[in-house]
């Protein structure tokens, strides 16, 4: 069964580019435009990996991460923060809240995201 990935990202072009890349390479991938719809989707389906942007409408990425790690049903899902907001403070905070990795969008290519997903979900 293919592994499933949820990408929480409000910027639709960036979201689609990654989702398409993952789907083309045998993953099941879905996009959520904000934290609330992400939690709705997680009620319906179990995901194996979450990619998370930090700047999101309604709940911030950090709030989403915190809530994910507090909930017993979602806390074991690996979360990779994938954002263009990348001060040392942000990186520390993401790590403190339990993120597995922190990647800067502008410095990554869709292929590198694919490789990262493969490494984590192997």
């Amino acid at each position: 069964m293919p592994k499933s990935i949820l990408y929480i990202e409000d910027e639709s072009f960036i979201g689609r580019t990654i989702i398409n890349k993952l789907k083309e390479n045998g993953f099941e991938a879905e996009i959520a435009a904000d934290g609330e719809s992400a939690f709705e989707m997680m009620k319906e389906k179990k995901f194996d990996l979450i990619l998370l942007d930090l700047i999101l409408p309604k709940m911030s990425g950090f709030d989403v991460l915190k809530k994910l790690k507090e909930d017993a049903t979602t806390k074991t899902i690996p979360v990779v923060v994938f954002s263009n907001q990348s001060t040392h403070e942000d990186k520390d905070r993401a790590r403190d809240l339990g993120a597995l990795d922190f990647r800067v969008k502008v410095n990554s290519t869709p292929n590198e995201v694919l490789a990262l997903a493969r490494t984590i979900l192997q």
């Binding site: 910027e11 072009f13 960036i14 580019t17 790690k69 507090e70 263009n84 907001q85 990348s86 001060t87 040392h88 403070e89 520390d92 905070r93 403190d96 339990g98 800067v104 969008k105 502008v106 410095n107 290519t109 869709p110």
Partner: protein, 516 residues
């Protein structure tokens, strides 16, 4: 009686206290919003209060005052709780252990309240002991506190030790382990005399020594910039000492005024000075913080806002190139790709220099082979080198190894190499020489490019500075690369410079680093 032995003991306790206060404040101000920094601060404050008791307790003129000062030992109940919080935060186990933390807080509050209700259970009396005019004579509740003190912190300490054994985040927690081993090892010795076991509290005085492993961690793992840490810690300690001196002076002046001027009430001066201090402090602080923050936030927000459209352009062009376009479209798309890469590099450079100068964060240290690293960089730049028909030769020792942050040292070599390529005429030779001598590694890049006039040589490492020749040769540059490179080399304990006979005569950019 005050003997020289007493003075020595309380002096060391006093110094320990000041160091702890300074270090606690420093760590707190590094990031006041982070839980671990807050817990660390409280932890050090509690230990510093204990140290203040050790200094003032023996010196009190009357029994009542001595009893009162020694009674502040009760605040020691805060130490195991805050120590546990720091340890659990460091190993990321706060959530799993939250009941442990809540439980020990309840015990601490329990001991505290019981002692306030019945002080004699905690401290029946103070008596002369060894060379102390007054020392604690602990009751059963004091003993309960000591047991809680030892086990309360020991249990999370063991958890940390196990995390360390399992390989969790070794670099970071290594120094926490050592620090608390020292701090508690020494600190607990002071309790012996409370129960008439004749261990001299002089042996337990250097609780502040717990900071030595911390300093070791800071130096060896370069967790923070050591010079900044010491400068700040010294500054804060001096600040606290000055404040204490000012307060003493104020109390003295207040007494004098109350006695000599009939209409001055005992509360006039304190209230008046508090208001003045508050207003002045607030003004000063807000200006200070505002200046720094505005600059930092402007650049961070600006670069972040630029990054989102840049990501879209860069990924969009990439997708376009994947669709197998016609040669014309491909050439145009590659042109857009190069330009967007250039913009991404620029925003990254701006962002990184701001971060480099705005705070002191961790440098990851590992063994780095400079020759191997140079070969990697040259490989990535081979198309630019070929385009200008340049020849690059490597000379010197086969490999020179240094201890440093791989990513940052790569940026340094990239900056120097890019400059050498950009500012060399077509078909020229660039030589790179690496060698080690007398505990140092030397690295230099020799080009036959535009050169640097002698009066400009010290200025080209300043941010945004570009020589006239450089502006003419390459209109794209912004003048951040060399400033960032020199900053990185300095943070590694090395040095960087340039030698050139003048415009058009080529230049030698060099740096030296401590050899691994």
């Amino acid at each position: 009686m005050i003997t020289s032995q007493l003075i020595l003991t309380i002096a060391i306790h006093g110094i320990s206290g000041f160091i702890l206060l300074g270090a606690g404040l420093f760590v707190f101000l590094q990031n006041p919003n982070r839980f671990i920094n807050q817990a660390f601060f409280l932890n050090f404050i509690f230990i510093a209060i204990y140290e203040a008791g050790m200094v003032l307790g023996p010196l009190m003129p009357t029994y009542e005052l001595a009893y009162l000062v020694w009674f502040t030992n009760l605040l020691d109940v805060g130490i195991p709780v805050t120590t546990s919080a720091v340890i659990l935060a460091a190993i990321n186990k706060l959530k799993e252990w939250r009941w442990y933390l809540i439980g020990s807080t309840v015990i601490a509050v329990g001991i505290f309240i019981t002692a306030l209700v019945e002080p004699r259970w905690f401290l029946p009396q103070v008596t002369p002991k060894l060379y102390f005019p007054w020392y604690l004579d602990g009751g059963w509740l004091y003993l309960v506190m000591v047991v809680f003190f030892i086990f309360g912190a020991l249990i999370p300490y063991i958890a940390m030790l196990r995390a360390y054994m399992s390989g969790y985040d070794r670099e970071r927690i290594e120094y926490f382990l050592l620090m608390y081993a020292f701090g508690f090892g020494f600190g607990n010795l002071n309790f012996a005399l409370v129960f008439n076991i004749p261990i001299d509290p002089l042996i337990g005085a250097p609780i502040g020594l717990g900071l030595i492993p911390l300093a070791y961690g800071v130096v060896a793992k370069n967790l923070l910039n050591i010079r900044v840490v010491f400068a700040r810690a010294a500054l804060f300690s001096a600040g606290i000492a000055t404040l204490a001196a000012l307060l003493t002076l104020l109390i003295f002046l207040n007494d004098l005024l109350v006695q000599t001027v009939p209409w001055v009430q005992f509360w006039t001066v304190p209230i008046f000075t508090s208001v003045v201090a508050f207003v002045v402090g607030r003004l000063f602080w807000s200006k200070l913080v505002e200046n720094d923050r505005v600059k930092y936030e402007f650049i961070t927000v600006a670069t972040h806002k630029l990054r989102t459209p840049l990501t879209q352009i860069s990924w969009g062009v990439r997708s376009l190139l994947d669709t197998n376009p016609t040669p014309d479209v491909r050439a145009l798309a590659e042109h857009i790709q190069r330009s967007s890469n250039r913009l991404i590099e620029l925003t990254n450079a701006l962002f990184e220099t701001t971060e480099e100068t705005s705070q002191q964060y961790a440098y990851r240290k590992e063994h780095v082979g400079l020759t191997a690293l140079t070969k990697e960089v040259l490989e990535r730049m081979s198309s630019f080198i070929a385009a200008k028909k340049l020849t690059v030769n490597l000379h010197g020792d086969a490999e020179v190894t240094v201890t440093g942050d791989l990513r940052r040292l790569t940026s340094v070599i990239e900056v120097l190499m890019e400059n050498a390529i950009n500012y060399s005429p077509q078909g020229e030779v660039i030589q790179i020489i690496t060698y080690q001598k007398g505990g140092k590694a030397y690295y230099s890049i020799h080009d036959h490019g535009i050169g640097v006039e002698s009066e400009e040589q010290h200025r080209i490492f300043t941010r945004f500075y570009r020589t006239d020749a450089a502006k003419r040769a390459d209109t794209e540059g912004v003048g951040l690369g060399l400033a960032m490179a020199k900053n990185i080399i300095k943070r590694h304990g090395g040095n960087m410079g340039v030698e050139s006979e003048g415009t058009g005569k080529g230049s030698v950019f060099w740096f030296s680093l401590p050899h691994a």
